[in-house]
Subunit: 306 residues, 2 copies
């Protein structure tokens, strides 16, 4: 096998209470990439469609993660990478993670899988850091492993795969506005009230328990973020209206996807997710802000060969 | 049935990372109580052995929880309560919770179980508040439900029963010193670094996952408390030495039981728990401080009829 086409999915990080540690994987949104073995050594990005991104491998998220793996593997060949990007950079649903994961997953397949997913995460972290200026894996982990993941530690990389209830869907709205990463970080306090932190870890614990037991009511009562959302939601126009409408129309929970501006809702069943989509659409179409909206089953497979 | 003898177990609250929300139940340490129906209406504490506690029901933890239930149930009888106390008040292994739980559990049995365990928790909270000056359920929940519990909320009472791995044992040392509850509270900061809070909820999430999956290695790497232990451990003589010796001798984790002074270690298997007991005993017998030390299987049953 000398060439492979892969699907690298969008992901939702944080998941309300799980700031910086939890994430889940989407099914209906993702990038496609073609990875091709070449005689000429090195990593070459030969095509980028969808968005304007650098072709130099050292400056491109997919290129940097590919280079990290290439330097470790020292193969007798090179690789060409074509990127068909559907996830808009800066949308808050793991655009850079999809790129970082796609190249290393594809190369690993072409090399006969010398690396496991933890090792692939380590390479992908290098690519992710190009986009987000810090090493983190809360989008990489669900993109690679699928389903719900908990990043227990990134040094060393420790990732837990949490079970996904059968009938869980997400509705994602992406308002076409830009939030600067620097701003979404600067707005967070360095210290938080102990009482709020306790509420947050009670919710993280019960969220994990609800996923293990497919307890949708408990999932619903766990999807609260008393630490980060009160700050970051200020940066997303009409966040509170969207959240209220989603919950009134049956969403189990609604929160900021990653650092925004995308907003996710988790729903029991496809019908509920579509109802929530309709309700959010109604609100956002009045705002004059352009937006995309998607319904997706939770993707338990992660990145895959097409 | 007019009389019942029950065993009301000791419990460990907090469990390192799970400050204020997690707890587990012990098997080898607990109080015994006899509850007896009487024609004379009211709640009467007729015997207390082991420790010097008030006989007036309104001032006694077991009496106050009994009164809360008695006022709700309005039965045609009264109750006598005998308390054979083995858990020293103030030891940090749920002495007041055992009393509060025992009386309402026993009365409920004699009345034909009109209340479920959530309702019993609500009554017991009233008794617990007499001893600890605030309403909390992190010792009550494991005493009533057994095993590991997560108190998601106390208003309304929401308690999750988390699975207990088959082969899990605890070693508990109780140094015979007094820590004032006021002091152990005052020493805690009102605000904590966000970064530490994130570490803590990653650990809570992975601890819950480890209990669901019986993953002892993950349990071990989750039993860390970066928020409370650094403060409260200062109040417990030789805490760091005990912890180091326990971990070196195979404990999965070691932390403060409740607000101390008791120290718990969780261990895989009875043999390991005994090794840890021996190692801690060696350290503490040099300190000149009197102490009790116990090994206990995790009790998955909770309070029970003898």
């Amino acid at each position: 096998m000398n060439e492979i086409r892969i699907f690298s999915p969008a992901t939702v990080a944080n998941v309300s209470c799980g700031f910086d540690v939890l994430g889940f994987c989407l099914d209906s949104v993702g990038d496609e990439m073609v990875i091709r073995k070449t005689d000429k050594k090195g990593i070459y990005i030969t095509k980028i469609e969808g968005f304007d991104l650098p072709y130099e491998a050292e400056l491109n998220v997919a290129g940097v993660s590919a280079l990290a793996m290439y330097e470790a593997a020292k193969p007798d060949c090179g690789f060409e990478i074509e990127i068909y990007k559907n996830i808009k950079p800066g949308s808050g649903i793991g655009s850079s993670a999809a790129s970082a994961v796609g190249s290393v997953f594809g190369m690993n397949e072409l090399l006969g899988r010398p690396y496991n997913k933890i090792q692939l995460t380590e390479f992908a972290i290098k690519g992710e850091a190009v986009a987000s200026k810090c090493e983190h894996a809360d989008n990489l982990a669900p993109a690679l492993f699928g389903g719900f993941t908990l990043v227990k530690s990134i040094s060393p990389v420790e990732i837990l795969q949490i079970p996904t209830p059968e009938n869980l869907y997400a509705t994602i709205i992406h308002p076409q506005i830009e939030i600067k990463t620097s701003e979404s970080r600067a707005i967070l306090p360095k210290e938080v009230p102990l009482q709020n932190a306790i509420t947050q870890w009670a919710n993280v614990g019960s969220l994990i328990h609800s996923l293990h037991t497919s307890d949708y009511e408990l999932l619903k009562s766990s999807l609260h973020d008393v630490i980060v959302e009160p700050y970051r939601s200020q940066l997303i126009p009409h966040f509170n209206e969207v959240k209220k409408a989603a919950l009134q129309n049956g969403a189990l929970g609604t929160g900021i996807s990653g650092s925004g501006p995308s907003i996710f809702s988790l729903c029991k069943g496809l019908e509920s997710a579509i109802n929530v989509k309709d309700a959010i659409e109604k609100i956002y179409s009045k705002t004059g802000i352009e937006f995309d909206i998607h319904v997706s089953k939770i993707n338990t497979e992660g990145v895959k060969i097409l």
